[in-house]
């Protein structure tokens, strides 16, 4: 079927749950998940809405391949207007929750209004019920999930929930499912918290069936073979996870360090994927316990770590001595390189806390890094921090702030608002390493030029997951391009953006694209769904989704002025490495990009473009 054709609409203000038919025409035009839910959001809400008001909506959406045998077919996305960026927010997560929603017979859940009291939603196949959550409010994700499972007496129930960060309005609060998989970015968890919705628990026993089972099995078996035989998806990712990048990116001089003052981090090796495999000096055990897959994934890049019990961060806290989701590259970078910290165990602990209370380690780490710079220059004082010595490299500062941010206490409250608001408050807006209010991920745009354009034009604010040109510029996937030149990058970014929009709307994980081309993906979608899902139509769909998001942002008040980078990347040259002396040359790439997109010089899609895309 691909789609069940059924969506669940929950009015939290009225306390009602209703089933309704999926708009099949929209499904044909927007595929699913990211694209389809964005269409719903655009049709149903005012783009100028206050993200944290009851008028904003929060959509949990699966793709047609979610809950299927396609490798990585377990993703879901949360779509809403983001409080961190005031742009469209779309955060994607793996784990098992998305597939479970599909097995319960639903394509998506639209949540509107605001509950008077804390509630959680329990979906058991066709039945959806709002349950009181007064006693869950104030609890972490790690308490909420097992409590709900025990209360409903079914260990097989899957839960997605917010921790205290989402309740406390941390603007980059995420939504966490299966204890450590996150719809992490853009503050979707804060929106959930603003609606007094603590969690969505799902048990699905109805299952799912592709439109053409025989063709689907053939296509997915072929796809899995490609992943298994590819060195990246078959060996590199399962063994080292995304953390294999730490040394690569550092070596090419694109490792943002100490709030992007530098582009190489001398502690990179100590917090790298390789280091996670090494026996620790202290107890002889490796930080990494095993790799883990999300639902349906035959790559299995997830890191499961265990912190050294003797490490000072957890020595007196046995509740953190168990295994859980370890650091991925972005988290290791933000919590580590960006703050100048090279203590892998401390980063793992901070990462645990981010999962436990549901907030994005990228935005959090980057905000701490900005605060450290402000502190070192004297713009923030001990009085502001409550006595925390916010020096680069201070493990104590990082772990204390992680705990305070989770709880919404002290200086943690300010850290919880993100680096843009922090830097504005303390008089140095230029030191906020953000685009559209969202913190950068782990690739310096001076050493990887294409990523500058990626960040500047990303519809959800600075992000690597909207067009991961690192694949081409650094790793040579699908073809090697020079990271230090701007030629051809506009087209590259655009192609990556459109293809990623397709993958994000399908139920698949974007990591498949390290091995799969659209030619590998199309037959799987085609067999799962009715309609025309040729490569050509898929790419057109991707472009349509991108332009729809752009339209939403323009209506929300964004302009071409927001498609920019912080001064540091445009004016301060890299000090070391291959990019030494270089800044990001966004000015060269952006006009070319607008033109390729069929947008005006003001970054507005022309009528011709809109017509072509049936928008």
């Amino acid at each position: 079927m691909g789609w069940h054709g059924k969506i669940l609409r929950v009015d939290l203000s009225k306390g009602t749950c209703k089933a309704e038919d999926l708009n099949q025409e929209w499904a044909r035009n927007y595929l699913g998940q990211r694209g389809l839910a964005t269409k719903y959001l655009c049709e149903e809400t005012d783009p100028k809405v206050d993200p944290l008001s009851p008028d904003n909506k929060l959509i949990f959406a699966t793709g047609p391949l979610t809950g299927s045998m396609a490798s990585t077919g377990g993703r879901y996305s949360v779509i809403t207007k983001g409080p961190l960026t005031n742009c469209i927010a779309c955060s994607n997560s793996g784990g098992y929750w998305g597939a479970e929603l599909k097995f319960a017979g639903w394509d998506m859940v639209i949540l509107e209004g605001k509950s008077k009291k804390p509630v959680y939603l329990f979906i058991s196949d066709d039945e959806a019920t709002l349950m009181p959550a007064d006693d869950l409010w104030g609890k972490s994700v790690w308490e909420t999930e097992p409590t709900i499972k025990a209360r409903l007496q079914d260990p097989q129930i899957r839960v997605t929930s917010i921790g205290r960060a989402g309740e406390n309005g941390v603007l980059y609060a995420g939504i966490i499912n299966d204890l450590h998989r996150a719809a992490g970015r853009s503050g979707v968890g804060a929106v959930m918290g603003s609606k007094n919705l603590k969690a969505i628990a799902v048990r699905g026993t109805k299952g799912d069936k592709p439109h053409d089972p025989k063709a689907f099995m053939e296509a997915t078996v072929a796809g899995k073979k490609v992943l298994a035989e590819n060195a990246v998806t078959g060996q590199g990712l399962p063994t080292y996870g995304t953390q294999v990048l730490m040394n690569v990116i550092n070596e090419i001089g694109a490792m943002p360090t100490r709030n992007w003052r530098e582009v190489q981090f001398d502690g990179a090796a100590a917090i790298s994927g390789e280091a996670m495999h090494e026996p620790r000096k202290s107890d002889g055990k490796a930080n990494l316990v095993t790799n883990q897959a999300c639902f349906g994934c035959t790559i299995a890049c997830g890191r499961i770590s265990k912190i050294d019990e003797e490490h000072f961060t957890v020595k007196t806290k046995p509740e953190y001595w168990h295994a859980s989701g370890g650091v991925e590259y972005e988290a290791a970078w933000a919590l580590g390189s960006d703050t100048g910290i090279d203590d892998l165990e401390a980063l793992t602990y901070a990462n645990y806390l981010c999962n436990e209370d549901g907030f994005d380690p990228i935005s959090f780490g980057a905000t701490v890094a900005a605060a450290m710079e402000l502190y070192e220059m004297g713009a923030i004082t001990d009085k502001d921090t409550g006595g925390i010595e916010l020096k680069f490299g201070s493990v104590e500062a990082l772990t204390t702030l992680t705990e305070l941010t989770a709880k919404g206490e002290g200086f943690g409250k300010e850290i919880g608002l993100g680096s843009k608001r922090l830097c504005e408050k303390y008089g140095h807006p230029d030191l906020s390493m953000t685009v559209k209010g969202q913190e950068f991920p782990a690739y310096d745009a001076r050493g990887i030029q294409g990523m500058g354009l990626t960040y500047a034009t990303s519809n959800r604010g600075a992000c690597h997951l909207r067009s991961y040109t690192v694949a081409s510029e650094v790793m040579g996937i699908p073809e090697k391009t020079d990271p230090l030149v701007t030629d051809g990058k506009a087209g590259l970014v655009m192609a990556f953006q459109d293809a990623t929009a397709v993958v994000d709307s399908s139920g698949l994980c974007v990591f498949v694209t390290f091995a799969w081309s659209m030619e590998d993906i199309a037959p799987q979608i085609q067999a799962a769904c009715e309609g025309d899902w040729s490569v050509e139509n898929l790419l057109l769909t991707g472009e349509r989704i991108w332009n729809l998001e752009r339209k939403y942002n323009l209506s929300a008040g964004m302009t071409a002025k927001d498609d920019t980078l912080p001064k540091r990347l445009l004016k301060e040259a890299a000090k070391t490495g291959p990019a030494k002396g270089k800044v990001n040359d966004l000015g060269k790439m952006l006009p070319e990009y607008y033109e390729l997109r069929g947008w005006t010089t003001e970054g507005v899609p022309t009528n011709e473009t809109l017509d072509r895309l049936a928008l």
Binding site: Q153, D154, P155
Partner: protein
């Protein structure tokens, strides 16, 4: 060597098959007093529900099954045993000589001493013959008075409801299935029955039944009913009257040792009639349940065939489907002396689980609404597995029993 097996229920049949497989070289005679091929009482509710026909209740489906294994079947009822001469007296006047005897005569449904309850229109639901009577007596809209709310009463409810009967169940005691479920679980089942349109009256008894122009039942709550049919399901008792004077030791049932042998050499007993080793208490109990009958049958037959086999005791366990609500109980579900427990109750969703521990070992359990992996509860109890740190986790969430089972018995980390 002549092997005689009295009773053609699961215990008797499995014993006969086991003897046959052992290749003892002698004769096997399986004696049953009902005309049908050996069948299972466990299947009767499904006959009532029209899921199967009578042949669906048969223990073995192949008509040649017994013949092929060299098992002679004889329809008769034992009326006495001469242990000196090694002969069983039958109700047809014949005598059956034996070298080894297995008493697997099972149990019968009992009738409480209530005036008029022995008249027409009153049936048990224990045999195929009973079932035929019931099926003849009810049609859509018929009012049925079910006396009893125990295991048997509960499992036949679905069939009665499905046939369109309007059922009122009365029970003397304060709750349903009190012999296998806790108060909370019994209450849940009662509420569920109510939701399915079944009237359940606890602490209620019939005082008199009259038959003038249809059934009339007086209840002690001063209500009077005119049911089309009364089904009596208040309990069972071992069928062992015929051994009176034989010298075979009895208590509640026939006492057997851990080889399933009675006090008299060469005479064994199994199943509902046997009072054998109780896994939980270490004493001897009658566990009138299907798994015990089949285990008993196998162990007894091995010993009869000269293959020494020692029984470790039967574990009380039941699974109950009350109009779709599934409940189980295992072992010491009421708790062990000095033990502790974990409990989860979700009245809204009809879910319940109680685990009983002795130190860090599971010794009993009782559940409602849980169908997946329940066998692992038995596994944990019967292996006397030390749960270690899993006990704490089970106290927090008893529904993680399958993980606890794997975590305690498999290499998980």
């Amino acid at each position: 060597m002549k092997h005689v097996i009295l009773g053609a229920g699961p215990g008797g049949v499995i014993a006969a098959e086991t003897l046959s497989k052992q290749g003892h070289g002698g004769a096997i005679t399986l004696v049953g007093d009902e005309p049908e091929p050996p069948y299972s009482r466990m299947a009767i509710p499904y006959l009532l529900s029209d899921i199967i026909d009578e042949s669906g209740t048969y223990l073995r489906k192949n008509p040649d099954h017994y013949e092929k294994l060299g098992i002679d079947r004889l329809q008769a009822r034992a009326s006495g045993i001469d242990t000196k001469k090694g002969r069983v007296a039958l109700d047809n006047g014949k005598e059956l000589p034996y070298d080894r005897l297995l008493i697997a005569t099972g149990s019968s449904a009992t009738t409480p001493p209530i005036e008029g309850l022995d008249g027409p229109g009153v049936h048990h639901c224990w045999t195929l013959e009973d079932t035929r009577h019931i099926l003849k007596s009810i049609e859509p809209g018929s009012e049925v008075l079910l006396m009893g709310a125990g295991f048997v009463a509960c499992i036949i409810l679905n069939g009665l409801v499905k046939r369109g009967a309007k059922v009122t169940a009365i029970v003397r005691g304060p709750r349903m299935v009190r012999s296998m479920m806790t108060e909370t679980a019994g209450g849940m089942i009662k509420r569920w029955c109510g939701e399915k349109g079944i009237r359940v009256l606890t602490e209620t008894n019939a005082t008199r039944v009259t038959h003038d122009g249809g059934l009339k039942v007086d209840l002690d709550n001063s209500e009077t009913m005119n049911p089309a049919l009364i089904i009596v399901a208040v309990g069972v008792k071992p069928n062992m009257d015929f051994i009176d004077g034989s010298g075979i030791e009895t208590d509640y049932g026939i006492l057997v040792d851990n080889h399933m042998q009675t006090n008299i050499e060469g005479i064994f007993a199994t199943g509902d009639v046997a009072q054998g080793l109780d896994f939980s208490s270490g004493g001897r109990s009658v566990h009138a349940i299907q798994p015990t009958a089949s285990e008993h049958g196998r162990i007894a037959a091995l010993n009869m065939a000269g293959v020494p086999a020692t029984y470790k005791g039967s574990l009380l366990m039941n699974v109950l489907d009350t109009v779709g609500l599934i409940a189980t109980s295992f072992g010491q579900w009421q708790g062990a002396k000095g033990g502790d427990h974990a409990e989860a109750v979700d009245e809204d969703h009809y879910k319940y689980l109680r685990l009983e521990f002795e130190e860090d070992r599971l010794v009993g359990a009782c559940s409602v609404g849980i169908t997946q992996h329940v066998g692992a509860v038995r596994g944990l109890i019967q292996s006397r597995t030390r749960l270690g740190h899993w006990k704490k986790r089970l106290v927090q969430d008893p529904t993680r029993f399958m993980e606890a089972y794997l975590g305690s018995t498999q290499p998980v980390g």
